[in-house]
Each structure stands twice: as structure tokens, then as C-alpha cells.
Amino acid sequence: MNKDEMIKKMVSILASEFEVEEEVIVPEANIKETMHLDSLSLVDMVGLVEEEFGVEIKTADLPTIKTFADLYDYVYSRQ
């Protein structure tokens, strides 16, 4: 899957799971703030990415993934 396809799929899945409009998921937006993630739903997000894209987000790397752009780069480079 190319990067655009990956991003489209990710936006759709995240918007559905976390009940936000797809329009608010823009690359420069902060993930936690945009999707109102707390420590519990952060675990769900990591699990969802692993399940849908086969990429494990390592706990040590989490602090570096702040925006959706960070997430896209992380997942795409590890597919």
C-alpha cells in the first residue's frame, strides 16, 4: 500500500473508532488532543494500529509520536 492509501485507511479507522470527524484528522494536528485520548484510549489506539497495519508502536517511541504526521511516518516506514 502506498503512503496516501495508508493515510486514507488510517484516517477512516481512527475517525470511526474514536468517534471524531475525518476532517479534523489533519497531519499537523495533535493526536491526543484531536481524538481526546486518555491513557486508556491511547492503549486502544496502539492496539488498533498494530491490528490494522501490522506495525507495533513501541512504548519507548510513543513520546515521539505527537501529530498524525508523526504517526503516518512511523507506521509507513515500518510496514
Binding site: S39, L40, V43, V46, T59
Partner: protein, 141 residues
């Protein structure tokens, strides 16, 4: 992992819960995979209704199984155990009847992920080989 590598701790050293809500009787550590726990249903258990353990009692047993696991890992590192709270319960199915007084609930718990202070587990509790409760659960410690 051989049993000689596992230190044996009393349940009271692993979790802060005490009677009448101490809901883990046996704890068998299975490394990174998780653990196996059990509890016999006593007539005076606070969750017993009309001779059967209510499903909330099994969920508490599962939560304390997760807390025992986290507590065991901490003790092995020489750290203190802390209070734990259930963060969420999902994908939970109940299969009646619930266990009767005198029966033993056996639970297999696997770790799904650990991020920060949140441990996510999935668990299956059985009585005489029949599943009574399964769920995923997040514990905050």
C-alpha cells in the same frame, strides 16, 4: 522458565486487597505470557447470591489476577506494589450458570499490552472446563 526461577510470594504480598474482597487464591506466573489463577467459591463470599458467584465477583477475580501479575513483576524487580484500579472492561461475555458455592473458578490471563501505567489483559474464566466469563480489561496501577 523453570519453577526454580520463580520466587513464591503470598497473594497478600502481590495485591493490596484484603478480605472480604480478596479474590485470588492461587497464582501461577507464566512469564511474559501472563498467569493462571483460581479461587474457590465460598458461601460467605460477598458476591455470592443464592448459592452462586455473581458475574461481578468473577470480574473482580479477573481484575485481581491482573493486579497479582503486575504485583509479581514489581516484586521480582524489588519494587513496591501499588493500588490498582480497573480502567475499562470490554468484549465481555457471560455464560450462565455462574459457579456454585464449592466450585473452583480457574482463570487464564494473557497480557495484551503494557503502556505506561496501563496493563491491558484478556482473560477467560472457567468452571470444570466450561467458560463462564471472558473479557479484555485495562488495569491502571
Amino acid at each position: 522458565m523453570s519453577t526454580a526461577d520463580n520466587k513464591e510470594f503470598a497473594i497478600e504480598e502481590l495485591i493490596p486487597q484484603r478480605p472480604p474482597i480478596k479474590m485470588v487464591e492461587t497464582f501461577d506466573y507464566r512469564g511474559d505470557e501472563g498467569c493462571h489463577t483460581s479461587i474457590a467459591v465460598a458461601a460467605d463470599n460477598i458476591f455470592v447470591d443464592d448459592g452462586a458467584l455473581a458475574c461481578e465477583g468473577i470480574l473482580e477475580h479477573i481484575a485481581q489476577s491482573a493486579a497479582s501479575y503486575v504485583g509479581y513483576r514489581r516484586k521480582m524487580k524489588g519494587e513496591e506494589v501499588s493500588l490498582g484500579y480497573i480502567g475499562d472492561i470490554k468484549q465481555c461475555q457471560m455464560s450462565y450458570p455462574m459457579p456454585q458455592v464449592g466450585e473452583r473458578v480457574e482463570t487464564t490471563m494473557a497480557v495484551v499490552s503494557e503502556i505506561g501505567n496501563i496493563t491491558m489483559i484478556k482473560a477467560e474464566s472457567q468452571v470444570e472446563g466450561r467458560q463462564v466469563v471472558c473479557c479484555t480489561m485495562k488495569l491502571a496501577t
